[in-house]
């Protein structure tokens, strides 16, 4: 079943999106974490009134590891017809951030950032400084780990802890040691011992 196989380990193969050819409407810009807040403030005062979306991507083997992606839309906050709205400009701001590195929160600029930042924190473990209510949103509050990270096992840590039968000759852990601390070989050993006893 393909769903239990590894996702591709290709973090290093992905170019930073800023150097790739652009195929959608947005203007793409890459910003360093230190300049992020100032740049977003400038964009907000430039008329980018809506934060359409805020997400993250985990490029496991790249430095810096994560990309936090801000999708902005230039929409006038007043009643307008279709012709007045026209084709609003779109902006995509990417910000590379390393594990443990913090980003400034933008929920005072755009209120829509509130849940979006909570979700990125919940699923990737990226902390937004200045967010007034940064707690888990999708996962239970006492959940361990960050599920959308690439080194988080596809089938969840519970499955990872139980030894798997020998015919499952593939590990669903992408790289490194799983959170359980047991590598694939150790699991195989355990199954072997259980069979012999």
């Amino acid at each position: 079943m393909p769903s239990t196989q590894n996702p591709p380990v290709a973090g290093a193969a992905v170019d930073p999106p800023s150097v790739r050819p652009q195929i959608d409407d947005a203007t793409i810009e890459r910003v360093a974490p230190a300049d992020l807040r100032a740049r977003l403030e400038a964009l907000k005062s430039d008329g980018y009134s809506m934060l359409v979306d805020l997400g993250a991507v985990d490029y496991l083997q790249r430095e810096p590891r994560f990309d936090v992606v801000y999708h902005l839309l230039k929409l006038a906050p007043k009643p307008a017809s279709v012709a007045e709205v026209g084709r609003p400009a779109r902006m995509r701001v990417l910000c590379g951030v390393d594990e443990g590195q913090r980003l400034p929160s933008v929920m005072d600029l755009w209120k829509s950032a509130d849940w979006a930042e909570r979700e990125v924190f919940d699923l990737f473990g990226i902390v937004f400084e200045g967010h007034i209510d940064l707690r888990r949103i999708q996962m239970p509050h006492d959940w361990e780990g960050y599920p959308l990270r690439k080194d988080y096992p596809m089938r969840g840590p519970e499955r990872e802890r139980s030894p798997r039968p020998a015919f499952a000759g593939k590990s669903n852990v992408v790289a490194g040691t799983p959170p359980s601390g047991r590598t694939f070989e150790a699991l195989q050993e355990e199954v072997k011992r259980a069979r012999e006893s």
């Binding site: 769903s3 996702p7 985990d58 017809s81 979006a116």
Partner: protein, 406 residues
């Protein structure tokens, strides 16, 4: 503490003396799914509402990373389960941009895509209207709505074999052409629709009880709507005619003649009227698409690197057999890159930010869920209203929790 109990945030618990905290949901019948709202109330009026989501989180974005590009579509359709075609259409458009085949999608496939996307919008609005009516005690509306939706689901079943998740829109085109008899059913639906719409309007639009419950309830100013990232009918109910179909046309929407209904009142009644008008506009598009269906043609891109070769060629051609085997066993590869593709779903701007690493599986599929951002605006519109009006406000924002929680 149970896994399913989330701690309250400090600012909800620290309240003034006159207020109390009340938990509404997550199994309340009027919350349209599993939504919990932690309310701070002063008597009967809401001082603060803090929606708690995540009870339906199923990790669809993570699941999609482990599936082939085509397989991921089956998971993605399950996010907004009331409008599966919008989800799969958005994803397919995004992947087609990454593949660089957007210009080569056959004309007939584009027309049928528009057709199913608009039908799914009507079906989704039917569920919204029926449940919105039930919330306010208008039970009979529900049956009329679901009868209409049933006709559309029958069509969906005819196209893809499944009522709820047909997986009909595929990367490169469609699963297949419309089956025999689908056009006749569609014509019957088009003929039935105006009368049914009149009935629905007659039941609610001028109903004094319905008006009392919705007018001036849940006011959302255009400024707040933009701040909270509200899109779709909820944004247009506040007067801003932003519609992705007009702003960034896809599938040839620029060639269809339709209006974008807006209201400037910004209350629950305005959002109700916008959605009703939108159903009629959708049917206008469906009628135009129906007329374009007279010309036959292919519905899948002529590129065996993406699309399965016709079944009858497999026995005759070695090439076709190889392509068939390769596509089924390892899928196709998509050039590295990232793309953000928006479409106008029934709830607003539905977007997919898709990152490809050049493999046969998506590296990351980030959904921009319209419901999540619309629901977030509840924090803004609920304070000052009565608890009893909260169900009106939730209903008027039309969240779908498969999409909110994913």
């Amino acid at each position: 503490m149970s896994v399913y109990t989330k701690p309250l945030s400090d600012d909800v618990v620290s309240r003034t003396d006159n207020t109390m905290v009340l938990s509404m949901g997550p199994q309340h019948p009027s919350t349209h799914g599993v939504l919990q709202i932690v309310l701070e109330i002063d008597g009967e009026s809401v001082v603060k509402a803090d929606p708690e989501i995540g009870y339906l989180h199923t990790g669809i974005e993570k699941t999609a990373e482990g599936l082939f590009w085509t397989q991921a579509q089956t998971a993605i359709e399950r996010m907004d389960y009331l409008a599966p075609e919008s989800n799969s259409l958005c994803y397919a458009l995004g992947v087609e941009k990454l593949l660089g085949i957007t210009d080569r999608i056959p004309e007939r496939a584009q027309v049928v895509r528009v057709l199913v996307a608009e039908l799914t919008r009507i079906a989704s609005h039917c569920v919204w209207l029926g449940t919105h009516g039930i919330d306010l005690g208008a039970i009979s509306v529900f049956f009329y709505c679901f009868d209409l939706r049933e006709n559309i689901l029958d069509l969906q079943e005819a196209t893809g074999g499944a009522r709820m998740h047909p997986n009909y829109v595929r990367i490169g085109g469609l699963n297949g052409d419309l089956p025999d008899g689908a056009i006749a059913r569609l014509d019957a639906l088009i003929a039935k629709f105006p009368g049914r719409m009149r009935e629905l309007r007659g039941l609610l639009q001028a109903n004094p009880i319905f008006q009392d419950r919705t007018i001036d309830v849940g006011y959302l100013s255009p400024d707040d709507a933009i701040q909270y990232g509200v899109t779709g009918p909820s944004l247009r109910g506040s007067g801003i005619a932003y519609d992705v179909r007009k702003a960034y046309p896809y599938c040839g929407y620029e060639t269809y003649d339709f209006d974008v209904p807006t209201r400037t009142e910004g209350d629950a009644y305005a959002r109700f009227l916008v959605r009703l008008d939108e159903m009629e506009q959708s049917m206008r598009i469906v009628e135009q698409a129906r007329r374009r269906l007279e010309t036959p043609g292919p519905v899948m891109i002529d590129d065996t690197k993406v699309a399965l070769p016709p079944k009858e060629t497999i026995a005759l051609s070695m090439e076709a057999l190889i392509h068939h085997f390769k596509l089924i066993s390892e899928g196709f590869r998509v050039p590295p890159g990232d793309v953000y593709q928006p479409v106008e779903g029934p709830r607003g701007e539905l977007g997919y930010y898709i990152v490809s690493s050049g493999e046969n599986r998506p590296y990351r599929v980030r959904t921009r869920p319209a419901s999540l951002y619309n629901l977030q605006a509840l924090k803004c519109i609920a304070p000052g209203n009565l608890i009893a009006d909260l169900v009106v406000m939730i209903g008027s924002l039309d969240p779908v929790f498969g999409e909110v929680d994913r």
